[in-house]
Symmetry: C2
């Protein structure tokens, strides 16, 4: 399939631009018309064949996961997804059925979450390499940040940790939106609880005291603490706030060296995934 055919096919799958998107695929840029009183959120995440997924992974699963990872960042700030741009490099022999299935998987999640496919870039490469940028919106000044946790806050995660790679990512969009005005800090768990909580604590200038880590069925504590790609939300609520149904209280923020984490009084080193 040549590039024009593939672009035409993607354009059909994306459908016509609808407000707040003024123009989608087909010109030099996509055009978005902001609404009064909204802040816009931007995040981008890449996936590389052989690193973030296997050659044998179903194309539709790659497409869905690629979008889900970026949506998880939008969820972490309490945002509502608006649109995405998809950059895709792929070998010639994948530009037909593989590409179609990739975009089908991506569009399924896009439609479910109200994310318009607004544009992107295509190129040829020996292996699949892709990058999904998502724009979300949130009421002005209300985005959930990671630097607002205070001493005494209760620490929560939105699900059990250490899940196997193959399990579907469910970006916690509704939970994120429901935390606006309630959570003092929030972020998503993409690199592992130990490193991500360390980042939240460092940014907030507090230490963390954990007494429980909810473990995914079959996973080890090691994996739950240090494994990446959980895509659950990590958030803090004021000490007196009511616990949130369906989420797990794992500890509290305490006065201590910024970024330090203890589990049952034992020091936990931030060992999560490093990209180099």
């Amino acid at each position: 399939m040549n590039e024009l055919d593939l672009v035409e096919r993607i354009r059909k799958m994306a459908g016509k631009a609808a407000p707040p998107l003024v123009a989608g695929i087909g010109d030099d840029c996509a055009i978005y018309r902001p609404r009064a009183g909204e802040d816009l959120l931007f995040t981008t995440d890449q996936m590389i064949e052989g690193i973030h997924f296997l050659s044998s992974t179903k194309a539709s699963a790659v497409g869905e996961r690629a979008l889900a990872r970026s949506l998880s960042d939008i969820a972490a700030m309490g945002g509502k997804p608006r649109f995405c741009l998809v950059t895709l490099a792929l070998p010639d022999n994948l530009s037909g059925a593989w590409a179609r299935s990739f975009f089908q998987g991506l569009m399924r999640l896009a439609r479910k979450t109200g994310t318009a496919l607004a544009g992107g870039d295509l190129a040829h490469d020996d292996q699949v390499h892709l990058d999904v940028m998502v724009c979300g919106s949130v009421a002005k000044g209300k985005a959930l940040r990671r630097d607002g946790a205070r001493i005494g806050d209760a620490i929560y995660v939105s699900g059990r940790l250490g899940r196997p790679w193959e399990s579907k990512i469910q970006p916690r969009l509704q939970l994120g939106q429901s935390l606006i005005g309630r959570a003092t800090a929030c972020m998503d768990l993409s690199d592992g609880l130990s490193i991500d909580l360390h980042r939240m604590c460092s940014a907030s200038g507090v230490a963390a005291d954990l007494y429980r880590v909810p473990i995914f069925n079959g996973a080890s504590l090691e994996r739950a603490l240090h494994g990446g790609e959980d895509y659950e939300l990590l958030f803090t609520l004021p000490a007196r706030a009511k616990p949130l149904a369906g989420t797990f209280l794992i500890g509290h923020m305490i006065d201590g060296p910024a970024g330090e984490i203890r589990l049952d009084a034992e020091l936990v080193k931030p060992l999560g995934y490093s990209h180099f």
Copy 2:
């Protein structure tokens, strides 16, 4: 250099977020606060080692070019650059000096054009693969589109065509902004005049009659017509508009099969660069 060190270095180079950017590098998403009455423009462009640049290309030149290509799309819509996200995959041995020089080159052009570096994503790969998303802004409803050319309009390009790859890209931001309210259509020349003009004509439902193609010193007519990566603006003005100093009148839009191009009455096939 490990990832945290590299991120810290990039964060320093990017500097503190300033309005309209509320938050840059360091949280799950960057936050942008739109101003009343602005439309936002979004474009993304990838560059792959061995395809879009050579391993021997200076890292600073790669960084500058990566940003320049996306800025050219913003220029083509008449936009003012606001911020960029940079996605970068690179081999371990390039994560030190190479990465620093890459971001230095990119930041030089970013500062010159008022483009904040707001975030991105890093990964490890065997070869350099990067993607630069740029957001620009334009007065509501004023973006220059490619589908507005009418029969009788004069066709212009902003510079001589067929330039060698090594020459610097100068995104035509000022020209693009000055065309707002004047040009009936505008786009940038990234794939070659023949295919890009064909796209403009097809989108606008007109044909083009060319009588002149300004050729870069030393290039062939063939290259000027079909070579890619010129990054000049292609635009149309109403028939009676005054010619624009420093730009080249190359022909007129005529009544004819949508997308058809003739040069001195000879049919020109749209042969420009295809990405597959």
